[in-house]
């Protein structure tokens, strides 16, 4: 699989007087796993909001597989094959886990808003839902209410719902936030498994995850990408070390 699946060019976003994204250029190849790291407040979530259509940019363009999706509505962007997860779990709390995933998978049916036939009669819907349930290993919790799941179970559900549309590009926003080491390892394996053949853009603070998962890493500082490269390149990068460790620390650390 070759070709650029995501292209950000000169992307800018201001909120009133404050410019959060100050000119971002980024290209993601199909099937590539890119981690987006940077200090707090760098604008990583804002970037995700821009790409997924939640916010419209103040300037610049976003291209998805050659198509200009700048300023498009979230539902349109999702239909094109781009799905995102949320930093704060964003599921249907009063519905069962099964129903949560089913609603996500339903969108792929030819007539998802049908009112003349029962939902359990739609061909393939149950199978697709159960398949996804198994892939995120939540079959045992299928009948539980999403709001009553444990934190990491909810994160797994979140990922499942993101995958339901069989996207070509997945945006994961801090999927491991607040997890124990065990849960992190588990979720890392899950993500690796589930993103085979898809492009992945992941925001994460856990550096172990980032260095082990990503093909390449982009570093976002103050709304600009200051470096893009392989994990090794980033580890050595002067600007990155300054951004994270400060200039004095940099002076003391041997090259």
């Amino acid at each position: 699989m070759s070709g650029t699946i995501l292209g950000l060019h000169g992307l800018r976003k201001s909120f009133g007087e404050t410019e959060i994204i100050r000119g971002v250029d980024l290209e993601l190849a199909a099937g590539e796993r890119r981690a987006l790291i940077g200090p707090n407040g760098a604008g990583k979530s804002t970037l995700f909001h821009l790409i997924s259509g939640h916010l419209a940019p103040s300037a610049g363009t976003i291209a998805f597989d050659g198509l200009d999706i700048t300023g498009q509505a979230p539902q349109r962007i999702n239909r094109l094959g781009l799905a995102r997860s949320f930093q704060i779990t964003n599921v249907f709390p009063g519905l069962t886990v099964f129903e949560n995933i089913r609603l996500a998978v339903l969108r792929q049916q030819p007539r998802p808003t049908a009112f003349w036939q029962r939902v359990d009669r739609l061909p393939g819907l149950r199978e697709a839902t159960e398949q996804l349930l198994e892939r995120v290993r939540l079959q045992a919790r299928a009948a539980a209410l999403a709001g009553e799941l444990s934190y990491s179970e909810q994160r797994s559900l979140e990922i499942a719902m993101t995958l339901a549309s069989d996207p070509r590009l997945i945006l994961l926003d801090e999927p491991m936030a607040g997890m124990s080491a065990e849960e992190t390892d588990y979720t890392l394996a899950l993500i690796r498994e589930l993103t085979v053949g898809r492009a992945l853009l992941i925001v994460e603070h856990d550096m172990d995850v980032v260095f082990s998962l990503a093909d390449r890493i982009s570093v976002l500082v103050y709304g600009q990408v200051i470096a893009t490269g392989t994990p090794d390149e980033i580890r050595q990068h002067q600007g990155v070390r300054e951004a994270y460790l400060g200039e004095e620390a940099n002076a003391q650390v041997p090259a």
Partner: protein, 409 residues
């Protein structure tokens, strides 16, 4: 579980079908109004309970259905194009059409703003209606006659009852079916997390309009049924109190369960009919009940049964039942005290009494519950005071014991 509920449903339907044999003409008329209120509340419940979209102006769709039907009755004049039993289709169509238009506007916003827009749309109609006399008939409204069709005259209350029952049962069945369709499941998604639906690829505005429109459709049928029953439509159907009462009925019943609004409406309708001769403060009682439900039983009266069963299961019948009984007794005492107080105040504040007191120079006795009470005597006021205090104390006692027992478990 499935078996018991199907059995109950069949039993209820059989009972409803047998009503004309059991009730007098007056009561049968009241039953017709009860059915209509139940359908209206169920239509409302689809939007407010399942989609989570609070509408405060639902009288608009009921009224539009009503007027469309009354015009159809007059225009078609039983000419065979649309026989009487099929006239509610006109109400459905009008409710659907207006629901789409109004819904398109209203769903531009969500939550509180949405609620206010629905209120304003209803008020717009209410203000406009008296001006458009050809459409809405002015003060006296528009009347029409039920025409014979299919070998029936539709002149008797019994036939009107069966017509209404058939349409209400069919509509409830359709509404229930809707909950099992993809559209129905998406409606739940709207309530739970409309934001996420967007990122799952759904056009949330469209979904909202569709839920609104279906609610409008069935509200329109309810309006049509009322016109068929009363053979008249009047613009007071757009009144704020029609919108208010469907809200009250639905939440008192409980919007979380499919039949909750219908049961709430039937109950309130029945009580309204039963006590409206005995008291002038019926609406006040309804309002108080609504506030109490919102504060202490947010799942509505339907939820009461579930909570009670849960308590018995958790604490064991020996512990739970006496406390539940105490709670029920407390409710009766509090209700009794409130009713006493309100009825007393109502009589003391009425114009006739005030005139009487002015001429007599003192406070004459009042007649209440078939007895005469001295207005200024402590004995009279001791009754509500006593009932309220004992009821309140018993309720506080039952609640603290219940909560303590539950905490122990």
């Amino acid at each position: 579980m499935m078996r018991t509920s199907t059995f109950l449903l069949l039993g209820a339907s059989a009972l409803l079908a047998a009503m004309p044999a059991l009730l007098s003409a007056g009561l049968l008329n009241a039953a017709v109004q009860m059915l209509i209120a139940a359908l209206f509340a169920s239509a409302y419940g689809l939007l407010a309970g399942r989609a989570g979209m609070l509408s405060f102006g639902h009288a608009a769709y009921f009224g539009v259905g009503a007027f469309a039907t009354v015009h159809a009755m007059n225009a078609l004049n039983g000419a065979g194009l649309l026989p009487t039993p099929l006239l509610p289709l006109v109400g459905a169509g009008a409710g659907l059409a207006f629901g789409v238009v109004a819904g398109w506007f209203a769903t531009q916003r969500s939550g509180t703003a949405f609620a206010m827009i629905t209120l304003a749309i209803a008020e717009l109609l209410h203000a406009l209606a008296p001006q458009l006399k050809s459409l809405f008939g002015g003060e006296s409204g528009i009347s029409a006659m039920r025409m014979p069709a299919w070998g029936l005259s539709f002149g008797s209350t019994t036939q009107v009852y069966y017509l209404t029952l058939a349409w209400v049962l069919a509509s409830l069945a359709l509404l229930h079916f809707h909950t099992r369709t993809p559209a129905g499941r998406l409606t739940l998604g709207l309530r739970e997390n409309a934001h996420r639906l967007r990122f799952l690829g759904y056009d949330v505005h469209r979904l909202g309009v569709s839920a609104f429109a279906i609610s409008g459709l069935f509200s329109g049928i309810a309006g049509a049924l009322q016109v068929l029953a009363n053979e008249a439509a009047n613009y007071v159907v757009f009144d704020a109190h029609v919108s208010a009462s469907v809200v009250l009925n639905s939440y008192i019943g409980g919007v979380g369960v499919f039949l909750g609004p219908a049961l709430g409406a039937a109950l309130m309708s029945f009580f309204g009919y039963a006590v409206s001769d005995a008291t002038q403060a019926w609406l006040l009682y309804q309002g108080v009940l609504f506030v109490i439900v919102m504060m202490f039983m947010p799942e509505g009266l339907v939820g009461l049964g579930a909570t009670a069963r849960h308590r018995v299961r958790v604490l064991g019948p020996a512990r739970a039942l006496p406390l539940l009984a105490a709670g029920m007794l407390a409710v009766l005492l509090l209700a009794g005290g409130t009713v006493f107080l309100v009825e007393l105040l109502q009589r003391l504040c009425s114009q006739d009494y005030r005139a009487l007191a002015a001429t007599a120079g003192a406070w004459p006795p009042v007649t209440m519950f078939g007895r005469s009470w001295a207005a200024a005597s402590a004995a009279t006021w001791a009754w509500p005071a006593g009932l309220l205090l004992t009821g309140g104390a018993l309720m506080a006692f039952a609640r603290t014991r219940l909560l303590a027992r539950e905490a122990q478990r």
